[in-house]
Amino acid sequence: MAIPKEHLVAMCSTMFKIRYFEEQIRQIYTEGKSPVFDIAAGTIPGEMHLAAGQEPVAVGVMPHLQPGDAITATHRPHHVAIAQGVDLNEMTAEIFGKSTGLGKGKGGHMHLFSTDPSFGCSGIIAEGMPTACGAGLAFKRLGQNNVAISFFGEGAANQGAFHESLNLAALWELPVVFICEDNAFAISVPKTASTAIADNSDRASAYGIPGVLVTDNDPVAVYEVAGEAIRRARAGEGPSLIEVKTDRLWGHFEGDADAYRADDFKQAMLDRDPIQTFPQRLVEEGLLTESEVERLRAEATEQVDAAIEFARSSPFPEPEDALLHVFA
């Protein structure tokens, strides 16, 4: 492992931050929703897609990013946004629907937009991919040495926008890296019922670009593959497609009974949970001590708690503000 220690530490600490964040949101999401669950009620209403288990995909990419790089993510965006360093206070406040949020409460958890770092997401499957191409086009045209990273689920790989985006990026040799988070399910539909082939990375050949499969839900494996793809993109060698086999530990959205996934499938995921295995490995390999791990965990907790406190104590927008910001 020729990975600089600070990258390993950063990945580990970011994983802690993501997981703790998702756990907190999961908890807070239930506030005001009992004894009767009502999706419209509580501190955080609406749909909530959490990414616990998918941290490695996000944190493995992060150490390779440079200022000005752009990311587009999906309906399940928190892990990616946190890894990229989107302002945690503003992001959390947005999820709480507060006026201090990234979108002043207008966007919500599926519509987090930030300019610095450049982050965007969408609730429409695969539709973040074309905008990533556009970011890449702008970088190329403006002579910026930046890359755009597009995250999407394996379910998205059967949507037309996937195909159009891959072809466009390959054709125009855009600095874009496409990262498919394959958690084997699109809501209840298993990949075997949606995708005619086993691995989306094999679809790269339809565009003449590199396609790489990462079979382990492991930050280091992602780090290595993403590093090479980002290097290529930054060097003007064009886009790449990466598929990472990852795990969605919880339901598709909060409140999902998750009855469509077998118990042993779910148990197997818990058994290999990277939030346990990755720090363990760093300790085993002597890169971190147990107490350093605990410190990282504590720091992560502290930042997330502060962000949640910021969100909680922020005011709601004024109702009439709904009418603002349709046009610039």
Partner: protein, 339 residues
Amino acid sequence: MTTLVERKLTTQKAIAEAIAQEMERDDRVLVMGEDIGVYGGIFGATEGLLDRFGPDRVIDTPISETGFIGAAVGAALHGLRPIAELMFVDFFGVCMDQIYNHMAKIHYFSGGAISVPMVLTTAVGGGYSDAGQHSQTLWGTFAHLPGMKVVIPSNPYDAKGLMISAIRDDNPVLYMFHKGVLGLGWMTHNPRATGSVPEEAYTVPLGEAAVAREGTDVTIATVGLSVHRALDAADLLAGDGISAEVLDLRTLVPLDKTALADSVRKTHRLLVVDEDYRSFGMTAEVAMTAIEEAFDHLDAAPARLAVPDVPIPYSRPLEQFVLPDPESIAASATSLIRG
């Protein structure tokens, strides 16, 4: 006063039952869409169907709306009577071509020689903080484009009868169910989402509005969950001495101009309420239709209340501000009457 114990169903169960009965009756009916199998549809419209009819007739699809809705069109052209589900209407942008240029136009292009007997079901509406890509109604968008019927049930009885009519119709029918009228356990409780539904199959004709509440002073015309809001508003108005008639349009295409005109001839005033965007949508069309059909009977210009022309915002106070509610409906009706 009836002594029969009437069977009560939620709108969601009424829809699922209608589909099941038609699948039972007609082997050519099948259902396709995302999460409509094991999951039973995100909003339960296909609950129980997989177990009963198996995976050949209850087909989970990839997230390929152009692909599977187009496949439904092709299957309809070749002897089947498919029901395809677009999970949220908000996603129409990825597959609209199949819907409006193919499903809706092939009959016309063929000079009437070929028909496209299919139903496209879709969930609409907001009010639960699902933000700007999961909360729209958009029925105005579809009703504007020729060649598809547009059905919007507001209660369990109609939901079943309209669904059976839709499936038996030889035309493409867009069946838009508002999440708020379904009676889902995980949505805000809505007593009007449960009601008496006969067990046997029956139809509610497409193109006939229903008077949801009789009144004499003002007609409130609307669809979907806003029918419930209007009924609540009518209660408020009654307390204020105003007798409001609530007209549930039930289908926008065909639009029941006769019922609209009849109601307006009685009340002489019209308020059109809509959960779709205000401009270039349902409110102006229904208001102008009333003007065209019954101008001389109107004592005032029709009024309209709809979502202002902004995307549906996420945060609760913002969203509640843009949606019509009983209070704003009652206020609009009052000012229409009292000036």
